[in-house]
Amino acid sequence: MRKVFLALLLLAALAVPAFAQDETLPDFIEHTACEVDLTGETVTVYHFGDISGSYAFITQPLLAGLSDAIAYYNARGGVCGATLASDNRDTGGDLAQTQAHYDYYSTLEDEPDLIVLYASGDAELLSSQMAEDEIPGLISAGSVAGLYGEDGATPGWIYASNPLYSDQIGSFCRYVGANADQFPDPVVGYISWPGAFGEAAYTDETVSYCAAQGVTVLETPEYFPPTATDITTNVQNLVDAGANILYTNSLASGPALVAATVALLGLDDDVQVAGVNWALDTSVGLLGRSSLGSDGLPAVNGLVGSLPFYWWTETDQPGIGLIREQAAANERALSMQNIAYLLGWGLVDTYVELYAVAVNEVGSLDAVDGAVMKGVIENLSYSPLGLYSFDYNGGETRALPGNRIARMLFLNADGTGPATSGEDAMTVPLADGTTAYIPILVPLTEFEPAPDLRPGGADVPAGS
């Protein structure tokens, strides 16, 4: 049995006092040594995203992570002495605004060397423009068109920190295929939100790859709007068509609603709910508290999905320890302690390293431009705070392939392992007076590269 990583998410957060700030970075962060002193200069993290629109719930923790991390690194020397600053612009989920904000950034007097973006739709819109303007971008989303262009064969200038969504469903199918004892005769029903993000994982390539792994993917995907009150009919459609696994490429209320509906229909034991890396998130675990399954635990208990980085519970990672201390010191609520907060930290650490290398290479901050930065990104092999492995293989890929499959469970009352029933589970009071079960993520596999399933990718079965 694999070692189960466990920790008390909230208790530790409460227990750790704000620690005294010594002015150097902890030893485990090994940035490239600076050959040039940049004291007095500023490195700006340019970011635009849907801060106020319907994806705001995931952008807010990202912003919190970015600002906490920037403050932390600035107090410890910044980038070779230069101060980190941030410039956030709000698109409200409107692509016209995305275009306008991008125009603003790309025509700045001092053109940005690097832009952080967020939504799959934004990446798809800007993919060719960023390549044309020679501005690299960092993203934590993975639709094929956003990273490799419409044909899947023209790599753009945007680099994702997680595997492509299509590759994620691929690694899920691989896992299911390899564990036939747990998943006999697997049939996947795809149920998700409509739109660029929600539909990104359902492609011809993923269907044929899954088939090659012995996993059938139904050809009738169901899409429900994030506003849906009830999706019983959609779920029953898929189950009637033979699905015993429901895969969703949605986040927050999406996976929670799918799992809740499965529990309502009394299908908890027959149907496995699975999802993209965003589905394995604190928000899903917390939203799950309003609908319990037959075992008395939240219906999302047992959700399987991709976990392409280390998680809050894996405290033997020093980076995780640091982020937890800082989240506690900055009084971030439990709902903020999620995937996006981690990524915000990882992003800032990446910035520090990228700029250190780039400045060493060209001699001054002014000489760093998009093309230099692209070279640095593609040739760097680094692990931001130990969260994931930043390595684009000299520019061969646009998405980091490292992935593992994990399961969402809830902590038991002793804090020693996953709870088996509602009575057994640990509950904590939240700031608003309600109680929550504590979601934990248990990796089921080690890190391994996700299959390459973009059109014409290496792992796409021949003849599809």
Binding site: S52, D94, S128
Partner: protein, 370 residues
Amino acid sequence: MSANIRPSGVFDTSYAQDIALNRTRFDRLLANGLFVLLLLIPLLTLEGPFGLNILPQLWIGTIMRIAIFVIAVQGLNILVGYTGQISLGHAAFMAVGAYSSAIMARHLGMSFWLALPLSALFTGAVGLIFGLPSLRVKGFYLVMATLAAQFIIPWLLRYPLEPLTNGSRPLDVPAPTLFGLSFASTGAMYYIIIPLSVFLCLAARNITRTRVGRAFVSIRDNDLAAELLGINVFAYKLQAFFLSALYAGIAGCLMAFDTNNITLDSFLLDSSITMLAMLVIGGAGYPLGPLFGVAFVNLLTQNIIPALVVPVRDFVPRVLPFINTVNLYAALSPLLFGLALMVFLIVAPRGLAHRWEIFKIAWKIRPFSH
């Protein structure tokens, strides 16, 4: 209307003069001068042929975006402002224009110059279909027919037509070429979009001065009276729908060939609502309304709000320490946008163009107050 007021001593001596858009030599000079200035802008930026850094490069993209939306909102103006039929489906018609032109260019190998008029006509035809209910349905019920367009058209494009449109995934659009020259760069597209936008605005201005335009206005003001006067209300309503969709189609097509990449997410209901807002802010039923509205909303979202965000973000936590700064980040842009719109509506409920007309009259009859 202000059109009748001229500086004293200026009289019309011919019919041509009477119907001229620019009645005085000064007006004509001003209009032509502004147009030439507009065309000169790209030459004065850093990426222009002379590398002059007189005007910011940002202006090019902004002006082009404004020009495209002015075309779309001008179409909405014909339908809403002149004919009085509210539409909540304008973005869907833009989608039809964008996707039909992209499909013509990609699958039929048509050039941009052929795809533009064809896709515009096609969109006009689609507009006619959704205008059909106007035979029987009126007022807010007609909003429904256009709202239906806003849901039915994207559904068709997303699912049944997926092989052509790539569904939810983006669709690449080739850059226009002319005699072997590619219009791939932003600056080049400028010279397609701006003249077309000016031309279409003038065309709309002229349409509304003709028999058709007067029929539109009479339908807006009182459709029953119009019918009694012998105006074929249904036929004219259909014409308004057709023209409106035609404009939307052109705007959509330009958008597709400008960004070279389209997704359905650009043409959602939000976008339709925004365009309606732009029209009302600018002044529905005024020829300059769309320009004022689009420019103002653009100024608000791109300049005023981002400029306010930083000071407000730094200031508020000092005064109101209980406000969560992360929440403030998210709240600011909708909050400021909503407030600005509200103040604006209370001050100028008939739109900027109405204010502008009042101002023009006041200027022309100075020093007298009436």
